[in-house]
């Protein structure tokens, strides 16, 4: 059977599985719908959180990003895992002890203000919509790239699937589908990684291969990679062109942003107690670390292997028969362009332009010592996608990777949909506009808003792909979470004196400053020389987070002490079990 058939089989099997789980785990009440009845096992929730967290970008793009950025890619590795330490120590157990359904719920009650609640809803919606657009685009790319289904139709199929289990099952349905999706995606990621690690270092564990010698030599893999890339005129793999301060700020913005992302936080409302929330955060990070410690190895291996097989290879055009021409080239003692390259060339993810017209593919960096211009331009997603073929694995593994990429995109999209739906139905409708609404109506409204959010997300996915701005706005989601939501949740737990005036001004400052900085430097033509303290828009959320904290504290001190009932609430959530009857 060929690859496409395998891809169809894996995608249909996994999709039927997700739908089956959705039917089995239908939500009967608002508790079920928003927080899966507060009754999910910590390990199960950890696994669901991992799937929720690891998006299409983690699965498809991150290893390739690291392959190109080398040390510079570390910001993503540390940033997207270190945030869980903050979450476990500073937020998750206390928010679970608080015991409601959403992040704006906490903000509204802790700061005794509907206005604060509405501002928090706006932050949550902005973060979630920017994020979900990228996921839907990922779904479209996976369908159009592998299954030959048009981009728009791919998004439509993705929408129908998510619609089914999010609207029907709510958080309960999403939790169990995310567990299934984690299994699919982690299997799809690690199998090719193990094989490529064996090929390059003879060590089956990629994390160990990363620090081993190249097979059959006594040269360390990373040393070899450094030599190879510098010979071609690239920067050393273990170095970066970013300033230390910028690396520091980006890492911190991603960490605090991770801790402040509503779709991650709400997963910890689904477990039984504060104690379970702590353990669950630990398990979530274990499951995430499996992929995140494999990714740098995959990135390094892929870069080495790419240079090894593609650079200085003799190109074979589409009009020639690959096998006969390849045999000819090898007989002359040269290396032909690898077969996987030819099969991926059609997707447009690889590009070769024979500038010096010698029929040989020269891959060079900006400072090539031999002065030859670069002729090969690989897309960074290619490294994960083509890995199975590079490692000469059977066709079914490729089908698995397709299913894995879709699982990663859909699981994240579903988690974000829950944030959007609950922000609208619970925080806006029930808690702000129509407090007399009963549970049954709220459940209906929640389903309706989830349905509406699916449609909006699909349209955004289409729109975003036309403009191509998804990658740029993702930085914004993290910066915004770090600067607007993290400070007020953190201070709300750890500083009793924080009042509503302080919280509202901190949130508004974080929201507006981060938004303006990113829009100015990403869309209105701001240049690098104008960056404040040399900090890129990706990292600015960290500085504005401190700004928001300082403003929040100063404004709170200048305005009245919060009411006694709120201070008692803070005392209560600090002590687990105090809220239980």
């Amino acid at each position: 059977m060929d690859q496409t058939t395998w891809s169809y089989i894996f995608v249909s099997v996994t999709f039927s599985l997700y739908i089956g789980i959705a039917i089995w785990s239908r939500a009967g009440s608002t508790e079920d719908f928003y927080v899966a009845g507060h009754d999910v096992h910590p390990v199960i929730n950890g696994m669901a959180t991992a799937a929720d967290w690891m998006s299409a970008a983690s699965f498809l793009s991150m290893a390739g990003l690291i392959a190109f950025l080398g040390y510079g890619g570390s910001v993503y590795l540390m940033g997207w895992t270190g945030g869980y330490v903050l979450l476990a120590l500073l937020l998750a157990p206390f928010l679970r002890e608080f015991g409601k359904f959403t992040v704006p719920d906490f903000v509204g009650d802790r700061y005794y203000s509907s206005f604060a609640r509405v501002v928090a809803v706006i932050c949550a919606l902005m973060i979630s919509f920017t994020y979900i657009a990228g996921q839907m685009k990922g779904v479209g790319v996976a369908f159009s790239g592998f299954l030959g289904i048009p981009f728009e139709a791919g998004i439509l199929i993705g929408m129908v699937i998510v619609f089914f289990y999010a609207v029907l099952g709510g958080m309960k349905g999403i939790t169990y589908t995310q567990v299934a999706q984690y299994c699919v995606l982690i299997f799809a990621y690690t199998v090719p990684a193990i094989f490529i690690s064996i090929i390059i270092t003879n060590n089956p564990v990629p994390q160990l291969g990363f620090i081993s010698d190249v097979k059959g030599t006594d040269i360390a893999m990373l040393d070899k990679l450094n030599t190879v890339v510098t010979d071609l005129g690239f920067r050393e793999y273990t170095s970066t062109n970013k300033s230390m301060f910028d690396v520091f700020c980006i890492t911190a913005a991603l960490m605090f942003g991770t801790a402040g992302l509503p779709h991650v936080i709400i997963r910890f409302f689904t477990v039984k107690s504060a104690k379970a929330a702590r353990v669950s955060a630990g398990w979530a990070l274990v499951f995430i670390a499996v992929l995140y410690t494999t990714a740098p190895a995959v990135g390094a291996f892929a870069r080495l292997n790419f240079i090894d097989t593609v650079n200085e290879a003799v190109y074979i055009t589409d009009t020639e028969d690959y096998d006969t021409r390849a045999a000819e080239i090898m007989a002359q003692g040269n290396k032909p362009v690898p077969e996987w390259y030819k099969s991926w060339e059609k997707t447009g993810l690889l590009d070769f332009e024979d500038k010096n017209e010698d029929g040989i593919m020269q891959y060079r960096g900006p400072d090539a010592p031999d002065g030859i211009a670069n002729e090969v331009n690989p897309n960074r997603d290619i490294f994960v996608l083509a890995n199975p073929e590079i490692a000469q694995l059977p066709g079914w593994v490729i089908g698995l990777v397709v299913a894995g990429g879709l699982a990663a995109a859909l699981s994240t999209a579903a988690g974000l949909l829950m944030v959007i739906a609950s922000a609208v139905s619970h925080d806006l409708c029930r808690r702000t506009l129509f407090p007399e609404m009963n549970d049954k109506t709220e459940l209906r409204v929640a389903r309706l808003s989830a349905a509406g959010a699916v449609v909006c997300a699909g349209l955004l996915g289409l729109f975003a792909s036309k403009l191509g701005f998804v990658a740029q706005v993702v930085a914004f989601a993290f910066g915004l979470a770090a600067a607007s939501l993290f400070p007020i949740i953190f201070l709300g737990i750890f500083w009793k004196r924080m009042n509503k005036e302080g919280a509202i001004s901190a949130m508004l400052f974080g929201l507006i400053s981060t938004l303006s900085y990113i829009i100015y430097f990403k869309f209105l033509g701001g240049t690098q020389s104008g960056w404040w303290f040399g900090v890129s828009p990706e990292g600015i959320g960290f500085l504005f987070m401190w700004g928001a904290m300082i403003i929040g504290v100063c404004v709170s001190l200048a305005t009245p002490v919060p009411p006694q009932s709120v201070q008692n609430l803070v005392e209560k959530i600090r002590v687990p079990g105090a809220n239980q009857t």
Binding site: I66, Y71, G73, S74, L77, M78, T81, G82, Y84, V85, L86, A88, L89, L90, P93, Q207, L208, F210, I211, S212, D213, I219, A220, M221, L222, D223, T238, M244, V247, F248, T251, A252, M255, S273, A274, K275, R278, V279, A281, G282, L285, V286, A289, Y292, T293, P296, E571, R574, V575, P576, G577, A578, Q580
Partner: protein, 85 residues
């Protein structure tokens, strides 16, 4: 639930633990991976410069250990103060 004094002491113990663990968190990521990377890179772990390895792999392992240690230590604190959790 314990008395008012118990609660204060419990919260102080929790904060002490949190600060200690966050210091380690900072040292392995921002410290070893970024600020002191130049110094650590003169050592090597299987061919990987140590600072680089911390930034790409090592810090993540420590993060996992930190959270599980926190769970264990919090259980101990809760037991000591008679909180059922």
């Amino acid at each position: 639930m314990g008395s008012k004094i118990d609660q204060k002491a419990y919260w102080a113990a929790t904060k002490r633990l949190t600060i200690m663990l966050l210091t380690i968190w900072f040292l392995v990521s921002f410290g070893a991976g970024i600020l002191f990377r130049g110094f650590l890179d003169q050592f090597s772990l299987g061919g990987a410069p140590l600072g680089f390895w911390f930034a790409q792999n090592g810090s993540i392992y420590v993060f996992v250990c930190l959270i599980f240690y926190y769970c264990w230590a919090m259980n101990r604190i809760e037991k000591k103060f008679g909180i059922k959790g």
